[in-house]
Symmetry: C2
Subunit: 234 residues, 2 copies
DNA sequence: GCCGCAATTCTTGTCGACAAATAAAATACA
DNA sequence: TGTATTTTATTTGTCGACAAGAATTGCGGC
């Protein structure tokens, strides 16, 4: 409340308010700036963004539609919780989508797709070298999203993006637990996947995607079981 | 405009307006009562439901989030079109979800799940015998949704429901083209799937689900290619 | 008669305000 | 002192109104 909120977002164009709030809130949720369970007050947001409650509300409705915000009738909404007990169902879906999108990319990719995919992988690698966890997460998502785009199935793409975003929160937790120091395996696996896509080797893509998923899932699970054991031990 | 719209929806409880509009609009879109491309006027809907534009707007935002309504900035929204050119990607996703959910149902189902699944299949069969196309579509959806629920993966369930709803519009077209006279194969295939789930035979479930998908897809494709040929011929 | 520009109408995006529903606080009572 | 009840306060759901932008109509020029 110390700064002047209305000056932070000067005269925006008509129709841009919702997108502004939506994008920012979404990022803050996925980066854990707003941890799960954080209550969301509409008036507070309205003051912060210097606009009426109406566009805020619309942004919240959209976020609720994506499952990032949970809303109880007549009561304050809050940032959606991460269902730790059902994590295995998430991992199952993640693995399947890794495999399917990578297979399809091997089948349907065009040369310009590979340029994009490689660019994201380079950015990922650079972020890794400078231990920039947020950059790694963003570029990892962009990398796999680009692969899914190359597969040219909008249904898989939409679903995969949703899974990846949900995973962004888990990855953030994972990286936090390692204090942003990270293994290099992921980057090498990315390179192998790119090569397999370029070679149009569908079966190899499948195996690599599955291994990549196993790699990530195994590490994340270790974090959560460790946390769980600590909770029980005390 | 002949009846009295404000009397059709008498004093509803606070918070029920959005759901009312959302459910009804959704049904009308999926049943093709509102064909793809139909423009949606907010004031008109507000008058029809006897409420302000605010809840209408929220319902539209949610429908847009599900891809059932397309909205252009500062311009009237409209019922989403069906992308006939990318139908094969839809069929691909549908087949995969049929297989995955049926496999998972074989693994994780409990006795009470089968009761529900059987009930929906009986209702489907009854609707078929009385050539009630809308009833068939609704119960077909409920049947497969119940299988997905028995698989106990909320991510697959959400995605599958979305695919099934998108398919509801295609099925409606299909049934319309056959003037609501329908083949009995679907019902028999449903019975076989139930038996395989109960026997917990994962591989059989996979084969049956794939065959079921092929069956439906083949028939729908025939309708669309036939329409296409007519368009070209004239 | 046709095309380009201006005025108007029409629809959406945003606003401020009010009322219902719930949560919190204060009070009364055993 | 603890509990039930009333009162207050906070927060959401809905409303009517206004303004910006787009579509349409009307007008004038060629």
């Amino acid at each position: 409340m110390s700064d002047v909120p209305s000056d932070s977002f000067p005269d925006r164009k008509r129709g841009s308010g919702v997108k502004l709030v939506y994008d920012l809130l979404r990022d803050e949720i996925l980066d854990l700036t707003l941890p799960p369970g954080t209550p969301i007050d509409e008036v507070q947001l309205a003051e912060r963004f210097g606009m009426s409650r109406t566009p805020i509300r619309e942004a919240l409705v959209r976020l609720a539609g994506e499952g990032l915000v949970e809303t109880l009738p007549n009561r304050s909404s809050m940032v959606a919780n991460i269902d730790v007990l059902n994590l295995h169902t998430f991992f199952d879906a993640l693995t399947l989508m890794y495999r399917v999108t990578t297979r399809l990319a091997a089948q349907h990719h065009r040369p310009e797709d590979l340029v994009l995919i490689r660019a994201h992988q380079r950015a990922y690698d650079a972020a890794m070298r400078s231990t920039d966890a947020l950059g790694m997460i963003a570029n990892n998502r962009a990398f796999h999203a680009a692969i899914a785009e190359a597969g040219r199935n909008p249904y898989y793409l939409t679903f995969f993006l949703r899974i990846l975003d949900e995973g962004r929160r888990l990855l953030r937790m994972y990286y936090q637990s390692f204090e942003d120091r990270l293994p290099e395996e992921f980057s090498k696996e990315h390179d192998a996947i790119i090569a397999a896509i370029e070679a149009r080797d569908i079966e190899l893509c499948d195996r690599l995607a599955r291994a990549h998923a196993d790699q990530i899932i195994g590490r994340i699970q270790k974090v959560f079981t460790r946390d769980l054991r600590q909770d029980i031990a005390l």
